[in-house]
Symmetry: D2
Subunit: 324 residues, 4 copies
């Protein structure tokens, strides 16, 4: 399905994989400050923070999958089928359609604390973008350099969780994902000590045995544990080059290879793209399943005071550098 992660060195990085069996035609999209956001149930925003991210352009409307704004707040929606539930409009609440949630937040909030304030009394409503575009059943991770939260709209209401690990995958709900991390408590990047039996001469026959028990399959709970372990133990210097490389390695730990997750006969879920936003600097880096070179779009190379979204197609053709 999908995995999101954050990473903090000198700058703050935010990204995700999008795993699916086909693409809806995503584009890297910069929405400048004066693009008017007309929301279905709440006040319009004629002027707002600029946003860069991956979006499906529905006409001129950017349906963001994941994005950061010019203030360094990042947000991504990830599949949450079976648990996500969007409600009816309710008076006295801030009614936001699920497809509006990403821009509604990123347009207005300069920090995660502002997000926390904004989403008080939030009601995520089931209003569709259009009749022929069913709503994605999602939950969201919202982050800045200070931390992350997870927002889940379920049948029993809205749940806002602090997300101390800074990762998100899919089912089950976030609290359960966090709970299940307890089961991996003893795993370590260091070699294990023999606690099994001090009278047995057990042998570390390989490096990396301290994390034996970490799951390696592609289910959402296993990806949560694996990316959490990888992210929490990740080491890099704080240069842009090394930070970005490290971020792609973190999400690479949950890459979905074609063939390993068959969703129906001959249809396979794969990691369509992997993104890494430098949220501090407004740069959107990405790779795709077929193109491992990092491609980048810099929001600050666009006219951020414009009023029309600028969008770039995802480059999916392998770019090979021939050395001879």
């Amino acid at each position: 399905m999908c995995t999101a992660a954050t990473y903090l060195t000198k700058d703050f990085y935010f990204g995700r994989t999008l795993d699916y069996e086909f693409s809806y035609g995503e584009e890297i999209t910069v929405t400048p400050r004066n693009y008017p956001f007309h929301f279905r149930h709440t006040e319009n925003l004629e002027k707002h923070y600029a946003i860069i991210g991956m979006a499906h352009m529905a006409g001129d409307y950017p349906l963001y999958y994941d994005a950061v704004n010019e203030k360094g707040v990042g947000m991504a929606g990830l599949n949450f089928v079976g648990n996500a539930y969007y409600h009816k409009e309710e008076s006295g609440k801030k009614n936001v359609a699920s497809f509006e949630f990403v821009p509604w937040v990123l347009a207005q909030c300069a920090t995660l604390d502002e997000v926390r304030d904004l989403i008080t009394d939030l009601n995520i409503v089931d209003t569709l973008f259009s009749e022929n575009l069913p709503a994605g059943m999602l939950h969201w991770i919202i982050s800045d350099k200070s931390g992350s939260i997870t927002v889940e709209s379920m049948k029993d209401g809205l749940h806002i969780h602090e997300n101390p690990v800074g990762v998100l995958t899919n089912n089950p709900p976030f609290e359960q994902q966090m709970f299940m991390l307890n089961n991996y408590m003893g795993l370590s990047p260091k070699q294990p000590e023999n606690h099994f039996a001090d009278k047995l001469d057990l042998n570390m026959y390989s490096r990396g045995m301290g994390a034996l028990g970490l799951p390696g399959d592609l289910s959402s709970a296993s990806r949560f544990a694996r990316v959490a372990f990888t992210k929490m133990n990740a080491v890099s210097d704080d240069s842009e080059e090394e930070s970005v490389a490290q971020f792609f390695h973190i999400l690479g730990s949950v890459d979905q290879q074609r063939g390993c997750c068959e969703v129906s006969d001959g249809k396979y879920e794969i990691t369509i793209y992997t993104s890494c936003c430098n949220a501090s600097r407004g740069i959107y880096y990405y790779t795709t399943y077929s193109n491992s070179q990092i491609t980048a779009v810099d929001m600050h190379r666009e006219d951020l005071d414009g009023s029309v979204p600028v969008h770039y197609p995802m480059l999916t053709k392998q770019q090979i550098l021939w050395q001879n």
Copy 2:
């Protein structure tokens, strides 16, 4: 440590990861047909098949880590510390120093069957390349499009195993690695069926649950199982572009992220490079930890009738394509 894999579509692909905490300075090296191979204990080869692969150049001598020859045979040496044992020279045997084994095979064999014949009466000897260059303790995978074998020189002699899975990692010995795959027999890229209890309404809450139980850590036995599952279930079309992309995804399943395998205080094993040779066409593709773009060297762009190895430094600087 390291992982090697093969992949067959229209062409035959052979490659590996090299995982370590530092680099010895590898270079992509083409050894042309007339470079004289002077072996320590066996007959010299003044003329032979051309070879391309990753090598540490010791003076003008290519110490190959992994390579393919112009006939489509690939070979890689992987760490086998604790089990590898090189013997004394023995008369009546083909005495080959461990560091000579890759070129000795690739220089002479056009097929895996020829390899099988050649290594009859092989004795891998402990002769050093030079006094200050200790021998890597290795075992080897040798492959062509028809299959793979694994060669392990141990205290009790030389073991040659058919390798039906076409992957290799490190300890324990290959037969044990294969045996342990039996434990994962029931894993599948398809969703599981409920065999736990037909009276319980169990729920597939995520895609990818059929492979629950696949290990996700970086130890050599876990990487063996994971890359075997990924490779055996890999799906791609047979174009060069898609085959190469798929190959890098296969080895990406065992990528070692900096921080997840601490080998001593603050020292981490990482995937220094990942290679994918199109063995059918003599092209060496690679990525490095810090450079995710695929770089390529094509042996056929060199003068294969030359007598001096041509070598290219590994390009480790991230190559970012700016889209705006």
Copy 3:
């Protein structure tokens, strides 16, 4: 900690293990119909169903750990530390002290449906039996031959769950335990089929490989999965002898051996006793850690119209039958 299970053949069986590092002095206790139950917040019961079970006798008051009544309803309280939360008395609710919950239910309900009705508007209150007897932090399984429910009083209120698997252990809350069973969906008492790779000749080197992945440790979530698998796949004929034997084997799958769960230096949690009530016939069978012979108390051999609890000490001395 503890495990409870049910088993249905011709009769209905209900029992549990009690795992702890010391005993409070339990006794097999028959409470006859005319023992007056004086509840702290609800109406007294001067006449009620007779009850047999394991209890700590506090004066003449039976503090039941697990019991069945003469109508075939069984109930057990199991540790739920960290999640159990008892509330203040609340008007308009049925306020039952946690220590009263077992007799309050078993005294009045002839079926699980009657239990479901009775516990409408239940409020489990934090009233203590006495100042020096802290309340056990528990959740409960209540069962008859038609099924089981689990009752959990938590900070956010009372949760009543259908329990289709008929087992209970400890943390986490029941819904999460049930959710985690999904991860074991593919496990089977039958041998696995090779879904890993149809081109590999994998080998069933042992019987019983279909359940590879079933956890074997003593934590509460692992015991839940293991006893659920064992119970759901248990096979016996419906004779009393074989049913009882099978029941002890089911709970034997989660037996806690001294030494395997160290709770503080040199203190080990063990299975102090294992019980199996024939709930249909009012017989309480048990074994203890040190006495593997089944000892039995039959409620119908007591005067069930009496007014004083009859209690038998737990026989803990090994009874060995010498055959020569």
Copy 4:
């Protein structure tokens, strides 16, 4: 299949489970000192150490499954199908038929060191007891209070392994079983420490989490790991009562419940019996699947200078102690 274990307190205990889908009719059998052992290929023994153990009586010949002798040496044969290989008679070797191996050893050796000497030049031959009694394909554990060895006759010859863990199950060969214990090195009876991520507040929600990762299924490799963990961490005082109880708990950890291991349609492997010999005192304790009371036969209550084996049927009827 089967599991054997040893346990040392003041006395030395040796026992096993026999797991199968039907019984051949075992009996507890004392072979006195003057029963003449006529071996097929080696010298007869007219006088020897007395033996007590479980045997199938073939006429008056005791085919021992597991036994101890009066000197405190214990020995058991466990299924090893697919790996066991018995050889042809070979001159210059001690040729012992597989069915003779237990009495041939126990009749002559007072210590494990004497066993080590005796089995020099051993050749386990494929001579059958009789034409209609196929040879069980076995490997053996031989133990005294000083330690244990494992003897495996395979296609490539006889393997004698020191067995530092003092347990045995079935496939794969012993060395591989021992090797796989390395994977459980970090497991502990104590609670785990958080090595996953020091910045996450992970929670020990249950006792017993230190052994998460211990396998709970009934396959032979999983039973090996589980019984090894249980035995190596077992704690008891050194009284006979507590030692015997603890021993049955150790083997109880690998009890096979009816229904959990289906070997063909409707046929289930179960733990037919579990034995615990006090090897120091010549007492054979056992329980059966249907009879959890410990039954005992004391060799010293027989005339050990006799010449005819004394055998007692296995008591399989549940012995219930009625307390009221």
